[in-house]
Symmetry: C2
Subunit: 144 residues, 2 copies
DNA sequence: GCTTGCCTTCGAGTAGTCCTAAGGTGGTAA
DNA sequence: TTACCACCTTAGGACTACTCGAAGGCAAGC
């Protein structure tokens, strides 16, 4: 199967701009062109791109991805470095998920608070002020 | 309690550059200055900043955060809009956590694969090629 | 008095994405 | 044949949210 840039963009849920950017920066080395110079993507390219999207969205900079892809093409002797890179990315992603889950708790409190305000004091209750203290239903509390 | 910009940066695990950026862009409206023009952060400022960091790290653009903070200062009649904003952010964050968990699976497969390669064929096994097909232990497979 | 270390402002640099402009190609249809 | 649509191309600029460097102020310690 082969695909146009637009089909690939839809499949991967990213923009055509990003795909061109990755291609122009050497991250999709197997993409071919048709007679009209249009990019033609094969399944192999989709796999590469899927990995690129995965690494980008877990926060790996383009430069590191380029390095990783170069290692893949270099051969089996680069496996130790690739292993370390993926382990680092794994740890990084776990951290990020953890951070997001903590942030989610803060947001949940806000949602609950506003839901309560909307149900209980429908503009008829005493509201002391609108300085930020009025928002302190989830007072920031951290380490120590 | 009051804090220097550096103490706040450490507490929030962000750079002093970012804090100045948020302050310069009106997102920390209660930060005071000492006799030497240095920023002085109180606990109230930490709460605001904590929320800013939370919203930023869950992907809300600075412009939206500015709008949200303006709504907070505007008073109780903006609660419905704030409620909608926080619900949207909640949904967005759940999506992002989900995406990250899927990406993590891909990365886990890579880690496992490389671990296997390192244990079993310690450079003495038959390696067919180093074209990307050699990497296809987690072939990209998606919708349909 | 000099160094160290923190703070300040201002302006420039960066990554990655997004968008516009200007143009080419292929298909359909009046 | 001409018009139009929908897609593709490139080059280059705009944008966001930082990130950093330069140049300088102030206070403490030797």
């Amino acid at each position: 199967m082969s695909y146009t840039i637009q089909e690939v963009a839809k499949k991967m849920a990213i923009s055509t701009y990003s795909i061109r950017y990755y291609h122009d920066h050497g991250m999709l080395p197997f993409v071919k062109r048709d007679a009209n110079n249009n990019r033609v993507f094969e399944d192999t390219d989709l796999e590469w791109l899927h990995l690129i999207v995965c690494l980008r969205q877990t926060g790996m900079p383009v430069e590191r991805i380029q390095h990783y892809l170069a290692l893949v093409q270099e051969g089996e002797n680069t496996v130790p470095e690739r292993y370390e890179m993926m382990k680092a990315q794994q740890a990084r992603t776990l951290d990020e998920i953890n951070d997001l889950q903590n942030h989610l708790k803060t947001i949940n409190l806000k949602v609950d608070h506003y839901a309560n305000v909307l149900i209980h004091h429908k503009s008829d209750s005493f509201v002391p002020s609108n300085i930020p203290e009025a928002e302190e239903h989830d007072v920031y509390q951290e380490n120590q």
